[in-house]
């Protein structure tokens, strides 16, 4: 006991000296803080990165496989424009001309390398003995009715068009613009493409008001990420207002509000400086950092201010005395809670998703600075500002509140065993439910229906084609081997098998080109609509066909330079991530079971990369979460100076997360990558409640000599209100984040809201029950001593 007391006295003395120093040199401290914040802030540089690649670490195997495929063929991103004429028929002279003109204009898109449309589709036919390859509809305005009818018949029979560029009824068509972004500065390149495409669409709509235009694709996806980041950054403003209001309500003091505002602003400025110094580019997950810091940092200030004002109002201390006393009492708790929060956020580095590394590091830095400013700038400012202590008129209402917490305490104390059992049963049930959640990282569903990208993409999925795809690069094992009839037959069989799968919308395989050319080489005889059965024929037909293709519409995106591999692109309906992974695997297995070894290939695509992202993040975060739990439990043991209670604290710290995911299973049942981080993050936050409650309990036991039941009631009376208050502040912050249109942020915030509420309930019901139940033996041991 003496040793413990010594440590405590030491830390108390340190806090007191710190407070006295800060108050004495208040102007120096304030100016130094200002210089530090401004200095860091001046290094600030907010740049955004919308490229979807940011979600994947350099070593991500799915990204590596996809990059390898793109390097073999062409590296391309796309914009798909979907045109729906109001007359529900694409095949009129005016509509075809409009499409033709827009296609021509689309070639001017920055970084474009290819434009695929209905009109410039390279239609292959036999003319006499010759192969004829030409645009499906060129100079459409000169076409006659019968020619347009012929174009329609040809188009609707064309497997490369239907369900990709044209819907089955011929009422909706698409223009697919392939862009090859240099990838040097996505913050410049992507907006450049987007701005051009948006203007092109606007001009087109003006000229052709009978067309509806929707756009999607990887570039609009990147733009949507971009814009989500900026929107979520704007949430900071709302949170700032909430902070002002909350602080004012809780402290009822304008100077306290100003001081709090200064602390949080300094913290954010520092964090912005950190972003600039580290060269971090903001992404949707990391762009919420100011709101996070605001939410978490304000708690530190509020604790210090409320104690100070209480000491002035209730105990009638002078401002300086109250401030010193508040600092002495709060220094350690604020330090401990900041430390656990920082640990929680830093564990995000264990994950495999770089934007969350940034979020973790920026917030951890911001929280460190928030601790520093709360213990320097805040007391200095309060010492300078003319804070007056009002009379003790509030006492009456306070007693009512205390009574409420006392009642709750008495309620718990009466039936600890029963409450423990009920709690554990509920937690057990919800834990079971939590396992029923499934990962789903469908990147389209990252955006809610308020985002145009989402509604446009949904429209395209409903009316024309799928947005998700999987690609296989299928090798032949020899140079020029794609013309080997054996290879072509197997490829054709794979294409057919894919077509039969219910989730498949469209298949683009080289075997289709081989069939089509073979038919045209035989006078358009349908019997020859099959792959050639002689290698020389196949190779020479291909040569002829390639010589006939125009600029930008070549086969280089489908055949590698050595003509040893071809690319199969499968377009899939909107299915969940788990189904997507199953499907890709099914394709891989089919190749393994039905084709020779060189043709075995793995499925890759951005869709698949996102599908596996959640699983990968969960796997990699697992270790991080365990480490966070151990570290935070150690901090607690140190803070409480009690091994057993430190161990016991694991229960109220871990169970809220289980409860959270259990409730989530009832609410949505699907979790995404953004939610994987909440364990470590919320652990760092909710542990504060446990620390406060347990430390008051221990103080009552050690210093006041209360028994366990009395100590629990004491804890309720002293920290009950503080816990409710900080929980409310946290809820406000995360509730604001949960309005984000971006699901990685909004889901993460929503489950955090659930977890924080659960944590409070558990700390008020299960924790005290457990404290009473485990203390019984303790008492007897102590009595023996």
């Amino acid at each position: 006991m003496n040793a413990i007391k010594k440590v405590r006295d030491k830390s108390n003395r340190f806090a007191k000296q710190w407070a006295e120093f800060v108050i004495k040199r208040k102007w120096y401290v304030l100016i130094a803080s200002l210089i530090l914040a401004m200095g860091l802030g001046s290094q600030g540089n907010m740049e955004f990165d919308g490229d979807y690649h940011v979600f994947f670490s350099k070593s991500n195997p799915e990204l590596e496989a996809f990059d390898a495929l793109q390097e073999k063929y062409t590296k391309d991103d796309n914009v798909i424009l979907v045109l729906s004429p109001s007359n529900k028929n694409v095949f009129t002279k005016d509509n075809l001309s409009a499409i033709e003109n827009l296609t021509a204009e689309a070639w001017n898109t920055p970084y474009s390398s290819r434009v695929d449309a209905l009109t410039n589709f390279q239609y292959t036919s036999a003319q006499g003995d010759d192969l004829y390859v030409d645009d499906l509809s060129y100079e459409s305005e000169l076409k006659s009715e019968s020619e347009i009818e012929q174009i329609k018949q040809r188009a609707l029979k064309e497997p490369l068009l239907v369900n990709r560029i044209l819907n089955k009824s011929g009422s909706v068509t698409a223009i697919n613009i392939t862009v090859r972004l240099p990838g040097e500065d996505s913050a410049k390149e992507i907006p450049e493409v987007t701005a051009f495409v948006r203007e092109m669409i606007a001009n087109f709509k003006e000229k052709h008001p009978n067309f509806e235009v929707h756009s999607s694709g990887l570039v609009p996806l990147n733009t949507a990420f971009f814009e989500a980041s900026m929107r979520d950054l704007m949430l900071t403003m709302i949170m700032l207002i909430i902070v002002i209001i909350t602080t004012f309500i809780l402290t009822r003091n304008i100077y306290s509000t100003i001081a709090t505002l200064v602390v949080v602003m300094f913290s954010i400025m520092s964090a912005v400086g950190f972003v600039g110094l580290m060269g971090i580019k903001l992404t949707p997950p990391s762009s919420v950092f100011p709101t996070m810091i605001l939410t978490l940092a304000v708690a530190d200030s509020i604790h210090i201010l409320i104690t100070m004002l209480q000491k002035m109002r209730k105990d009638g201390l002078s401002k300086i005395d109250a401030l010193t006393e508040s600092m002495r009492l709060n220094f350690m708790p604020v330090f401990i809670t900041s430390l656990t929060t920082v640990i929680g956020f830093l564990t995000m580095n264990f994950g495999d998703v770089p934007p969350f590394w940034d979020l973790g590091n920026i917030t951890a830095f911001g929280m460190t600075m928030a601790f520093l400013f709360s213990t320097t700038a805040l007391p200095a400012l309060m010492a300078i500002l003319p804070v007056k202590s009002k009379a003790k008129q509030k006492e009456e209402s306070k007693f009512i509140k205390v009574n409420w917490y006392t009642t709750l305490g008495e309620f718990v104390v009466k039936q600890p065993r029963r409450l423990t059992i009920i709690s554990l049963v509920i937690i057990g049930g919800l834990t079971y439910l939590a396992t029923k959640n499934s990962f789903n990282d469908e990147f389209i569903n990252y955006f809610d229906e308020s985002v145009e990208f989402r509604t446009d993409t949904d429209y395209i999925s409903d009316n024309l084609t799928g947005i998700y795809n999987i690609e296989y690069s299928i090798g032949s094992g020899e140079s020029g081997g794609i013309n080997n009839p054996e290879y072509l037959k197997n490829l054709n069989a794979f294409e057919n098998w894919l077509e039969e799968q219910p989730e498949v919308v469209h298949v683009n395989a080289f075997s289709e080109v081989a069939r089509r050319v073979n038919r045209s080489m035989h006078g358009d005889n349908e019997q020859f609509y099959r792959v050639p059965d002689n290698r020389e024929e196949a190779a020479q037909y291909l040569l002829l066909y390639e010589l006939s293709l125009p600029f930008g519409l070549d086969l280089n995106n489908q055949i590698n330079v050595d003509k040893s591999e071809t690319r199969v692109t499968v377009t899939i309906e909107n299915v969940t991530s788990a189904d997507m992974i199953v499907f890709a695997k099914k394709g891989e297995d089919w190749l393994k079971n039905n084709t020779p070894e060189p043709m075995h290939a793995i499925g890759v695509s951005p869709t698949l990369m996102f599908s596996k992202l959640g699983f990968r993040q969960a796997d990699s975060m697992f270790k991080g979460n365990i480490i966070a739990l151990i570290l935070i439990s150690l901090v607690l043991m140190f803070a409480l100076r009690n091994f057993k209670l430190g161990l016991l604290s694991i229960i109220p710290n871990v169970t809220p997360v289980l409860v959270g995911f259990g409730i989530w299973a009832l609410y949505k049942g699907q979790i995404n990558t953004g939610m994987v981080i909440v364990f470590g993050m919320t652990l760092g936050i909710i542990v504060d409640d446990t620390v406060h409650f347990m430390s008051k309990f221990l103080r009552a036991r050690r210093e006041l000599g209360y028994d366990a039941k009395q100590a629990v009631i004491y804890a309720f009376e002293t920290v009950g209100k503080a816990l409710v208050t900080t929980t409310l502040v946290l809820l406000a912050g995360f509730a604001i984040l949960s309005t984000s249109s971006f699901a990685l942020n909004s889901y993460m915030a929503r489950i955090t809201v659930i977890i924080i509420i659960s944590a409070l309930v558990i700390d008020f019901i299960l924790l005290p029950s457990l404290l009473i139940l485990t203390s019984k033996k303790n008492t007897s041991i102590k009595a023996n001593n």
Binding site: W107, S112, D130, Y132, E536, Q540, L543, L544, L547, L549
Partner: protein, 257 residues
Amino acid sequence: MKKTIITVVALSIIGFANAQTPEQRGLDIAKAAEKADLGFNSSSVQLKMTLKNKNGQTSERSLTTRTLELTEDGDKSLIVFNSPKDVKGTSTLTFTHKVGSDDQWLYLPSIKRVKRISSNNKSGPFVGSEFAYEDLSSQEVEKYSYKFLEEKNGLLIVEQDPVDPKSGYTRRLVSYNKNKGYRIEKVEFYDRKNALLKTLTYSDYKLYKNKFWRASVFNMVNHQSNKETRLEFKDYNFDVNLTDDDFSQVALKRAGN
């Protein structure tokens, strides 16, 4: 106001009339280059084509090219594939025309048939390489409009805009070497959106018959896809004495066998 405009226009017309316009000078340079190469009659050459993608994976083809010089219309050429094996013997016969699109035939030994390539698409890549057909075909003066841009270290840089609306390019910047019989040192290709697409560099020039400059290496780099194609020429022969008969469909069939 109107008067001023008229005056300005009039003055500029007079100005242009005195000095040579950039357009005229560009055309003159192209014509000088054509003239410098006049009179080679016919030639044959062996050609190795190496395709390289971003990863450095390569693929080779070897060809033989024969050319017959014509003055009243564009040149005729015959290209025979020697490898890869599965296209060995495949040959193309091309009649370039000063005006209008070229005629082109392909002989397919596997079916022993000559097929006319009737498409007017001449801007696609030649056998998967970074060369478009239009980069390799005979460079007739009439196929472009010209504008002289500048002279730099003895190189005359001329902008050439293709006349064919189906061309893949908006313009090319061609560097002529004034001191070396107006041979071309470098061509930069700009795509339809006027972004730099490719650069073709000619190197290892040799002078044949004391008059005709021929580069031994053509290197085409695509700046957008980072792919590359290298052509290496060897065994230039200006004494083959080919005639019209060597550039007929019958000759095409024969060449392939």
